[in-house]
Amino acid sequence: MAKKAGKRVISEDQAVELLALFVSSAQLLMSEPAHYGPLRLLTATERLSAMMLERASPETRPFLELAIERIPQMHMQMSDVEAYSAGLEELNAAIGECLVRRAGLE
């Protein structure tokens, strides 16, 4: 468990790339519609997932794979609230599963 928790899955370059995404998103969101907020968070989730995929543990990989496949589709479904919500439901079910497995609860 300790070893898993301490494992580095992204590099400093990749971390800086995410920082750039966070601060540029924050600046854009000041003048963008409210529903762009989830979109930007999902973009960050997708990019982080892609960065982590190579070195992530088997418990985490299913979530990463789902995020990489599902989020680009969701970006294009913003006007379809039901489809968008279904995507968020799927991702949240997967992260719940990932957390349970990583904590060794099941």
């Binding site: 790339e17 750039a20 995404l21 601060v23 540029s24 998103s25 600046q27 854009l28 963008e32 930007r40 973009t43 680009p72 589709q73 970006h75 294009m76 479904q77 913003m78 006007s79 379809d80």
Partner: protein, 183 residues
């Protein structure tokens, strides 16, 4: 009714998945020339184009552009040079500048389409960070990236429209009936 121009207008779609195949210098120049021919308010011609093909710089741009889903071989940044507005005392946030950017972008998108290339506009980027990354002159305001390349042979993700519309939904003729106006 149909002709090449009408067909291009109807068939051009935003492309968000592109291949690595480069854009030739000749294609690039044709597209920039189409941008040059776009009309500008007062014929001020303050649009400026910055072509980015260097891999390292494209990567930095991607990092501060949350709305960029493409990894294109070439990017054209459309800027306004405010120097002309300053010289002519026009006010630096003249709305026609943005219209001029839109007109150039569409000319370039249609020119690219006619050459068998794909485009995708991106305005969701940090203007502050992009100005620094490209070391833009102080009077340049970056407005829109036009990602340029070849469409990948995969289903393209397109933003689903809120509703289907035709020109009829957008158009009315002459005067609105009494009682419908705000005045």
């Amino acid at each position: 009714m149909s002709n090449d121009v009408l067909d291009a207008i109807r068939k051009r779609r935003v492309v968000r998945e592109m291949t690595d195949e480069p854009v030739t210098q000749e294609q690039l120049e044709q597209i920039l020339d189409a941008g040059r021919w776009a009309p500008t308010g007062g014929n001020l011609r303050q649009n400026r184009f910055v072509v980015v093909q260097d891999e390292k710089i494209k990567r930095l741009i991607y990092q501060v552009s949350p709305g960029m889903f493409q990894r294109p071989p070439a990017i054209i940044l459309i800027c306004s040079d405010l120097q002309l507005a300053i010289d002519h005392q026009l006010g630096e946030d003249k709305p026609t500048f943005l219209m001029d950017v839109g007109k150039a972008a569409q000319n370039m998108a249609l020119a690219a389409h006619s050459l068998g290339l794909a485009t995708g506009p991106v305005t969701s980027f940090s203007q502050t960070a992009v100005s620094r990354i490209l070391n833009l002159p102080e009077t340049y305001v970056p407005h829109m990236f036009l990602c340029l390349g070849h469409a990948a042979p995969v289903p393209q993700f397109n933003v689903r429209a809120w509703q289907r519309i035709t020109w009829r939904d957008l158009t009315s003729y002459d005067r609105f009936p009494s009682g419908s106006g705000g005045g």
